[in-house]
Symmetry: C2
């Protein structure tokens, strides 16, 4: 059964600010900066805390005493002197930490005090955000992370915290990754990606993928990265556009960072606003998912709960899915005709869209059908019976029954169902279809004939911190239906297992054991990354070559019925470039529920033999078996 | 101030059992096995669940149907047929899982059902333990771990679970490590180390170190590993003894595993009992620590709490420490004499043992002293004043004061204190001595003159699971005083930082900032391992060459005053052989407390430049900064 979103949310207006990197900021300049902001159409401004040339404005000043660093700042050295316009102001803290500073106890202490007082002042003002540059020196990263945790986060209850990371620096991702890891994935620690004239080597897709899973709050576009078009206006090169446009979909704050000689900043604002406006129209799927990107939902429990009218309505909005069902039924009727066919639609819903599909297919195939529409939800029966009387007539018989226990008056030729979840079998289609299989003739056909879940490791700070927010073990051992966007899928999705219908009776086992599964999938990492879990999809064979797919590479065009599914891990798993990761998944069945258990195992944790070529890959810490024994999550039978 | 144990516990009697590996077990053999056990002096017996030749006795039997595997076992196929003597019986489950079995869904299901019913039966009997062989095939390990979690642990509420691991298999540690990692360090999953004739390559110390941090419950000694001495009795070779004797200190269950032709088993029992009896006498320190090995205690809070009489008494039992204090004071008096010296003992305690040291040193050095005995604990003053009147006389003046605020009537030449914790400065000796430094003459001497904490990464399932048991973040962000035994120290301890007294007044900073510290230590891993935290020690210079040390390589002989300290990590950090690990430690000071923050960073998580030779080491997942901002733990000022 379809699993997606139930409402939509409006898009926010773009947030475009500016900063003057080469123009010395004087005390009290904030007023002038705000005036220019309003004049040139910006919505915010980035200002340094201290005026140029004042002690500490450019970093730690060894000549300032520790006592002075504990004393209040002097109004005469401040660019932003009071809380007016704080809500449209981002405060910039200068770089302070390098290897030498962190090694010298006195300097380190001064850096800590200086950082603390600058952040304290900005927190007092209530600026919208504070930006802090990522140290270029790896040895300074642990102290940097510690200062964020000890000073910035507690002192900024109302302001965002942006770590400014240069996109052009090939090692920047590793340093950034260490910061947020040391900071325990603290939600306050967000990313400001600084985009200059030089882009990283390699294809743009690769660059984007590297950062897609990160908690990106803002980007900075340096004016030196712009070209001038024939009319004299600033524009981005094709390469820069290819990089920036996909990021704008996330609606980040954009900073025009003026690092050249004075020019009209308004033109940059207009160009960035144009980029926002001229984004390609969202796909049908993205339109449908608007407001639901990266929003975690618990999968449906269709057997335990009766669905509500609105839920059915959303499912039935998807024209693509029903077109495929109609085509599958048509082909099957042609293959089995011309004699009349008995078709049973199990799980018909209040409006019976699959019944409509069958009737249209029957007309197209010119094969007569007798249709049974079976539904267990008493509330759905009200509309279904009305439709039978007013639209379908005698060709359709409506049955109020749980398909698993229904005693059908005759066997059927074709059994049509749509009981699929985001991971294929996760809404118990196998169990339901086993239960109703007794109504099918020995040579009868199930539509769908089979379905196969796929999955791939995913890095997404967003998804993982959302799942972590509950601070319970169970929340990190539960799969979620989610329209994944701010995430990097780290390898091509691979098939997990396949369920085929009808099941040969000889292979059916007691206590549903034939629906238990164990799968080992193996993935090679394209880049150094943190694995935050698995992204799941499915492919379904409705009939012969008529398919449904939510796997990105083969996704049924414009089909909106299913979002992907996200299986989190308790602790992110660090993997290096080229490392292979084995992922284990169990589908377990009990007397009252079905559940998954999963584990991510960096390969060297297994025997050398398995992991020896091309080179011995590093052993990471294998994640424990999630949801062992179904302790955190199960789908009720 | 000393930090160790406060009571002692008795040793348990050795537990020695046997099993017959080559003799086919018949249904109902249990009675005979128990009779032989009693006859030969054993305390328990290991018996297979099923009789030899019955379906499934040797592993999964594909011919047994799934339905039969769900049915009750037949009494006629059982070796142990009822609960009599269950408390002295260990049930042995046969090996079931290999790569082929886990790949075949039907076989895997049968293995799961078979394992479940055997374990269920043993759990019903209430045997003392169930032993399960570690699969020799790495590909079977995840399914094995899952069966332990899903079937064994829930079905064995009263029985231990022993995973039998062959010591002679060089890859066994990795497989075992994967099992317990996948099982989330479940405390039920314990180790049975199977010791045969062939020992692993390499020095015995290395072999022992590999397994010392594991949750070892039992060892098996194969009779084929024994030699026969001149009198015809079985004995272990020197190499085997070197391996086994250190393990016996942990008092494991020992199984004599008879894998040869029939011989008198009683002789083996006698030999193992002899090994237990003939253990070298425990060191003074181990005697003192008896019952406190691996028992986590919170460090003292000597400034916030007044100590109790019993605590003082334990501290004062250590003759070595006081001998060193006496010698340090003597040397200092000789250097400063012959004119009379003013000596202040700060933190004198109820019996003033340091005052005694000073008086004895004065007599030895033939330098007269005037002693002030300063103590803030009002209850200690009662005894201290009595001792002054009854023993010391006018040479000693007792002062009731907090040393940090005491207005001394005259300056002193020598300031004697013992305020050291297990990590040197962790009981705030720096803060106390800064506070009292004003009483010292400009050329005066502090005894101690300096102290330096040391630490090293440690692997210890025991310590980590103990700290995890509270299931709180805070419990894994708190250091513990603990007599570490079941642990592998993974590299040589390294110095962290040094505090020196008196502090030059010019370097003193407001708000105690001069007692803040930041240390980066780097360790190379001897073996693939899991880092469960850091083991901390200290070295102290009392005066010139008179030292105290708890660092293992330089430990002051028989000094019992301090146990080591253990800093846990939230999640174990996996490291490969030869990997380098950087550990960051901060000592932070606030207005009301002092605290540590720490993080373990596998080196490749820093820049390549730091980690590039000899080979690029794997990036693990850097642990977050523990106790950031002192959120979980602090030492009150």
């Amino acid at each position: 059964m379809a699993d997606t979103a139930s409402t939509t949310a409006p898009n926010a207006a773009p947030s475009i600010g500016y900063e003057l990197l080469r123009q010395p900021a004087q005390a009290g300049d904030h007023d002038a900066l705000i005036q220019a902001m309003e004049r040139d159409g910006f919505t915010f401004v980035v200002a340094p805390v201290q005026a140029e040339g004042t002690p500490g404005a450019a970093g730690v000043d060894a000549s300032v005493s520790a006592a002075d660093l504990r004393a209040p700042l002097d109004r005469a050295e401040l660019v932003v002197q009071g809380p007016d316009f704080a809500a449209v102001t981002v405060a910039a803290v200068p770089p302070m930490l390098d290897a030498a500073t962190v090694k010298d106890e006195v300097l380190r202490n001064k850096a800590s005090l200086h950082f603390r007082r600058l952040v304290h002042w900005t927190g007092h003002l209530g600026v919208s955000a504070v930006q802090v540059p990522l140290p270029s020196d790896a040895a300074a990263i642990p102290e940097f992370a510690r200062q964020l945790l000890a000073h910035a986060i507690p002192l900024l209850p109302y302001s965002a915290l942006w770590v400014r990371v240069p996109l052009g620096d090939a090692d920047a991702w590793s340093r950034w990754n260490l910061v947020r890891t040391l900071a325990g994935h603290h939600v306050k620690v967000q990313l400001l990606l600084d985009i200059g004239a030089d882009l990283p080597d390699g294809p743009t897709d690769r660059t984007l993928a590297r950062w897609r899973g990160e908690p990106l709050a803002a980007i900075s576009l340096r004016t030196s990265a712009f070209l001038t078009n024939k009319k004299g206006y600033p524009v981005l090169s094709k390469a820069h556009q290819a990089l920036v446009r996909p990021i704008l979909v996330r609606n980040p704050h954009v900073i025009v960072s003026h690092d050249g000689t004075q020019r009209e900043l308004a033109a940059y604002q207009q160009y960035v606003a144009f980029l926002f406006r001229s984004q390609p129209a969202p796909s049908v799927i993205d339109q449908f998912a608007a407001g639901y990107h990266d929003y975690l939902q618990s999968p449906l429990q269709p057997l335990m709960d009766n669905l509500e009218a609105q839920t059915y309505e959303i499912f039935e909005r998807d024209p693509v899915k029903y077109a495929q069902y109609q085509e599958a039924t048509r082909k099957c009727l042609v293959d089995r005709g011309p004699q009349p066919q008995v078709v049973m639609v199990v799980g018909a819903g209040p409006r019976g869209p699959l019944v409509d599909c069958v009737l249209r297919a029957s007309a197209e195939a010119e094969v007569a059908v007798k249709v049974y529409a079976v539904e267990k939800n008493a509330n759905a029966l009200v509309s279904l019976r009305h439709k039978q009387r007013s639209v379908w007539g005698d060709q359709v018989e409506v049955v109020f029954a749980d398909m698993r226990t229904w005693q059908a008056p005759e066997p059927c030729d074709i059994l049509v169902s749509e009981l699929l979840g985001s991971f294929g079998d996760n809404e118990l289609s196998p169990e339901c279809l086993d239960g109703v299989q007794h109504v099918l003739k020995p040579d009868g056909v199930s539509i769908p004939q089979s379905y196969t879940p796929f999955w791939a490791p995913v890095s997404s700070s967003k998804l993982w911190t959302e799942a972590s927010a509950a601070k319970t073990v169970a929340a990190l051992e539960t799969p979620y239906v989610v329209m994944i966007r701010d995430a990097t899928v780290l390898a091509d999705p691979q098939p997990v297992w396949t369920f085929t219908h009808p099941v040969p009776v000889a292979t059916m086992q007691p206590e549903n054991a034939h629906n238990e599964r164990y799968s080992v999938t193996e993935f090679t990492m394209r880049d150094e990354a943190l694995v935050h879990g698995m992204a799941g999809y499915f492919e379904c064979v409705l009939y012969k070559d008529v398919l449904l797919s939510t796997v990105p590479a083969t996704h049924s065009t414009d089909m909106t019925s299913w979002f992907p599914i996200y299986f989190p891990v308790r602790f992110p798993v660090a993997v290096s470039k080229g490392a292979r990761v084995q992922v284990h998944l169990w589908r377990a069945t009990g007397s009252h529920k079905v559940w998954y258990e999963w584990s991510v195992v960096p390969l060297a944790a297994l025997a050398d033999g398995l992991a020896s070529e091309p080179a011995r890959v590093p052993a990471g810490y294998a994640s424990l078996i999630h949801n062992a024994g179904g302790r955190s999550y199960g789908i009720g039978l």
